[in-house]
Structure formats: C-alpha cells, structure tokens
Symmetry: C2
Subunit: 375 residues, 2 copies
C-alpha cells in the first residue's frame, strides 16, 4: 500500500511517499472487530502464515510464513475466526520502503541516508495502514521479541484502539548486554570495507562479510547453551583419520558441527538481508524504552495502557529472560490491568517463540478462544 | 630461554629452535620444593606480577603483572615463600616463539604456517623449561580460565611432578556455545581482507578490523549481564539536545556508554595482539578435552592425577560456569582425590578471576598457607 502523506518520525526527520508490504488472512467481519495485527522482529516480514504458490499452482518449497505454527486455519490464532494482518516495517528489506529503495527527493538509493526509525514510528505507520483498511480497533496486536515491543507500544500510543496485546519473549527495553551484542554486530558490518559508509549500493558491492558475522553473533544469542549442547555438543564435522583425537588441527577450517552450522546461517543470511536494514532494526531495539520518559520507572510508563494482556516468556531465553517479561507483568498489575502470564519451560532459548511447543501454542490458543474471540 | 631440541606436537607436527619468555619471582629454596608455575589465559603473558622500571629506575605506568593482586610479597601466593614462574606460551605474541617470528627452516615469518599448538603441547614446553631450571616437582601449578586447563593437564601429563593444582574459573572442555563464540571471533579475523590467509606480515598490514570485533565479542562473554548493567546500563555517552529522548538517532555513531567501552577495548587490543595468535589460542581452548579419550567420561580421564586440588568458580561466570568446575570436582572425588572447592558469589562474571575480591583471594591465601607451604 502506498502512502503519499508525510510521516513525521521520532527523530524529528520525516519520510514521504512510502510503501508498506502487507498480507491478510481470513475475513474482516461485518463490525470490523476481529482484526489481529502481527508485528515482526529483526529479520522477518509481512509473510506470517501460509505458503506461496507458483504459476502452476504448486506450493513453493520453504515458503511457509514465519509464524505459520501460530496462525492459520484451526491454529492458535485461527484465521477462520480472525482477520490477521502481517506488515513489513518501514526500513526493512522485504518490500516496504527501506534503504535499498530510492529517495523520492534525491532520486538516489537511500542507503545510509534512510532515516532512523523507531518502534514508535513503526506503530504510527501500522496505524495508518489500519486506517486505510478501515479498521479502528484491533481485537489484538501480537508479536515476539522486537515484535512484542511493538505490541506493547501500541497499547501506549493508541490505548483506545487495542483490546488485547500478546507480548511474547520480549522486554521493556534492552540491557547493556543486549546493546553490546547489537553493537558488535553493527561494527562488523560498518567496518566491512564493502560497506562504504552505507552506500555500498552505489559501489555495486554488498558488505556480506559483516552481515555473516552479525548473523552468527545473533544466532548464538537466540539459542540456549543447553540446546546447543544437545544439538551440536563437541561433535566434529568429520573425523580426521591419523589422529587419535579425530581433530584436523586447523585454525581456519571447520572442525566442529557448531562451526559449520553458524557459517551456514551466516552465509544464508548475507545472501538476502540488507546491511543498512540490520543497522536500523538493531537501533530500533536499542532505542525502545517506554520507561525513559518516566525516570526509568515502568509502572507510570504503562499507566496509559487500556488493553488486556497476555505475556509469554521462555525459561532458557537468556536474550530476553523471563525476568524481563515479569517486569512488564508487574508494572501492568501495578496499574490494575488484566494480565495473563505464562513462563514456558522450553529448552530452545529465545528461538522458542518461533517453534512448535504445544504448551506455548496451547496457552495462546486458549487466550484467543476464551478472551479475544468475538462473541 | 632458547630450546634447540625438537618439540613434537600433539598434531603430529613439531617445532624446533624456539624460545620461551619467562619471569621468576622469589627464590628457589635449597631442596627446590617451593616452585609455583603460573599458566596464562588468552591474552596474558609471562609477566604475572610486579612492575617494570625504566632506565631511570621509575615505575613504568600500567606495567603491573596480570595477576599482581594474587602474586607477590605478602600476597596470597607469597613470593617470600614461593618461587613463582610465569611463562609465555608457544604461539603467543609476548616474546615466546610464535607466528610473528621467523621459521628457522624457511627463513620466512611463520604467519599462518605456525603449527597448531594445544594445551598438552604447552605443558610439554613448560616441563622442558622446568627441567632447564632444575625443578623436578612443582609445589603448585596454577591458572585461571585457559590457564586452569593447563594446570589440570599438568596433573595428567606429569602426575608425579605436581603436588598441588589450583584451577580457577575453568572447565573440563568447551561447550558448543563457547566454541561458537570462538568461531565467530575467528571468522571476523579470517574474513578481514587484511588477513591475507594469515600472511599479513608479508603484506605489511594487520587485520585490525577483525581483531577489534573478536575482542568486543570476548569482552561481552567475560562480564556478567548484571555487572554490565550496573557499570553501563542504558547510559548515553552524551545526551543529544533537541530530542526529549536524548538520543542522537544514528546507526553508526556511539550512543550508549557500553558501545564506547567496547569500541575502546577493541581498538586497544588490535594495537598489541597478533591475529594468528588469537586463532591459535582459541583453537587450543576448543581442542582441550581430557575426557575425549575416555568416551567423554571425566572420571576415568582424571584417574591419573595424583595432585591435591583447589578449584574456584564464580557464580556469575556464564562463560565457564560453576557447574563446569563442579564436573571437575566430582570426577576428582570419584577418584578419591583431595579436593577443596570454593564458589565465590562475585558479580563480575568470568573476569572475576583477575579481580581483587577479598573472599576469592582469601581462599587462595589460606590454601597456600595451610596446604601448599613447605614445612
């Protein structure tokens, strides 16, 4: 959807003439009361559920939406009941206007000149999309990780437009350690000689080295130590003959399975993700901090919220630990909000929010069936 | 000290005509029974205690040894009682033969051709140094982190030469997550265009970008989440005027104090540390695994040890967690070894082993006074 009006941004800058890619699933009911907005995290998109078909009508392999376990016919967020909207955020690289597109003012590819966007800005842009779709009130806004921050921000920016907020594996802001990991990833990208200050597009190159490192760092923080040990442990990729240890004794070749896995993830990511988008989205994570305007106190910061809440966290998530979700729960309870909270004992770390855990999916299903569903 | 004899290495390769830099503190007693060998971790050296003086006899600023809180006159490892030896390991970059030196066979700078060295190889080389110093039996061998692995390995390679082993903040092997962090750091170095396959010396450049990233990653894992939040939190380096948030809204500039700290640490490290050494030492960490030859079982692996042990771990150390030290304690107890174990509730993460915590230093002091001291 194209938006011709200027969107003022939190930074003081603004953006005009932009597009947002979105998908919808299910049918908006007559009183327009069954819409559920899904907000995405770092590297996801508007394609939250279902598969794509090719010209012959065959399913495109690996085209499942990123939250296809959660959303669809008969699933926890049932598209037979709800009208679900997935939207790609401004500054991302999956169809919505971002650094790879041309600046209408200069005719040049934005690159590093794309304005810094925040969680607050994304919510503004999403609200305009809902306006255009004729949706005044959301049955629910929902997201995991950075997506959960957007869901929380919706309840503060548009308290009257949100009946329920589902905030999964999220946090009220980043810790110093979270920011530190983001910063190392950004430095890897920015110091890649192919980055050219963010204008690699003009040089016909891509800072893929930096993106690979950024993604490898990210992947470590998405998994738990336990699940990494269970999946990979100290397993060698191939056992070198001739040494009792099975080691090849090389500093540059792959020895361990975990190395092979990380290199593969880094390579894959660097093929499809835009480096400037990576910088923008990690900065949006860094900047999110609704308590900042209230002297760091979350309770007054969340006083504006009117929605009912479901929060979900995962025991082995050390990126956004359960303690961070409990901070949000506590601040909402301080404000006498209606809050459900589930802490799932899943072994998968932060990644658990994307996985097929029956306890987790069961909690969300029962929340949507018993509380969100239109009567 | 120069060694002319060939040293066969675990990989099957060997090295000849090498030097080891070492320092000693205190006096070897008449029966040569008071020697304590200190083994270093990733980026440390033979300079474990004391300060250097310049030509005018003035103290060189910041020249304190890396374990100066632990070792010296009246300190936990008291140099009035013990003869302490610090040695720089083979492959390191502080004076001992390593990748920056010339291969005597080719006359070329080793660079990436320096042979892969392991904890076992370092212990072999250290044993030869002791032979040359006329020391048959160590009162104690001691180290933290990777240094603790060397101390443990001493008790297996030379059970009859070690009376006590002090193993601090260490582990019986690396987990998949530990290896993963090492691998990302190595990839950052190896994919730096200035790395030139490890032969940057021949090109007159240094892969400093990669080293910076490697060090930044390392630093995050050395600190605890708590201490990072306490020291830096979400504090901005400078508050930008004109925005209520105080943010500058930049993806490439420093916003948060933690970013500034990490960049500084990365810059400093890239000025003095050798990239090939970084690869070698992280690989030595990856490879260390005494249980591997015993089907992954640590108890039979440690059956050869004859020393008495002190193990120390730190509650907030998530790199080498207390659980990893307890694995060693359990395997030693299974073998009826004499083991003391202290778990220190310090907030500083892995770094705690280098810091001035009175409980930690007190434990080591009392162990040396009551158990290690010559009668």
């Amino acid at each position: 959807m194209h938006f011709a009006d200027v969107l003022p941004l939190q930074s003081g800058a603004s953006i005009r003439a932009y597009d947002l890619s979105y998908e919808t699933y299910g049918t908006l009911n007559a009183d327009r009361s069954n819409a559920v907005l899904i907000c995405h995290a770092l590297n996801a998109s508007h394609h939250v559920a279902g598969v794509y078909l090719d010209a012959q009508g065959a399913v495109v392999p690996k085209s499942e939406g990123w939250w296809d376990t959660m959303i669809g016919h008969g699933k926890p967020v049932d598209t037979d009941v709800f009208f679900v909207i997935g939207v790609n955020n401004l500054g991302s690289c999956f169809g919505s206007t971002g650094p790879m597109q041309r600046n209408p003012d200069s005719g040049e590819i934005y690159g590093a000149d794309f304005p810094v966007v925040t969680v607050q800005d994304w919510v503004q842009a999403q609200a305009r999309l809902l306006d255009a779709l004729g949706i005044t009130t959301l049955a629910a806004v929902m997201g995991g990780s950075l997506g959960g921050m957007q869901a929380l921000s919706w309840t503060l920016q548009y308290p009257e437009r949100v009946r329920h907020a589902v905030v999964v594996a999220s946090a009220p802001n980043l810790t110093a350690e979270n920011i530190a990991f983001n910063e190392v990833a950004r430095r890897a990208i920015v110091t890649d000689p192919d980055f050219h200050g963010g204008h690699y597009g003009r040089h016909g190159v891509l800072p893929q080295r930096g993106l690979r490192i950024a993604r490898m760092i990210g992947h470590i923080t998405y998994l738990s130590d336990d699940v990494m040990n269970e999946k990979f442990g100290r397993q060698l990729r191939e056992v070198a003959l001739g040494h009792a240890s099975g080691y090849k004794f090389s500093t540059q070749d792959v020895e361990f399975q975990i190395e092979s896995y990380l290199r593969y993830q880094g390579d894959k990511f660097s093929e499809y993700f835009d480096a400037n988008t990576y910088l923008l989205i990690t900065r949006a994570l860094d900047y999110f901090d609704p308590a900042a305007e209230h002297g760091g106190k979350l309770t007054p910061a969340l006083a504006r919220a009117r929605a009912k809440f479901l929060l979900v966290s995962f025991k082995t998530d050390w990126r956004f630990s359960p303690a961070r979700s409990r901070e949000i729960v506590k601040a909402l309870l301080d404000n006498q909000r209606d809050v459900s909270y589930a802490e799932i004992d899943a072994p998968h770390g932060h990644d658990a929010f994307l996985l097929d855990d029956p306890r987790y999916l069961g909690v969300v299903r029962s929340y949507f069936e018993s509380k969100v569903a239109p009567c």
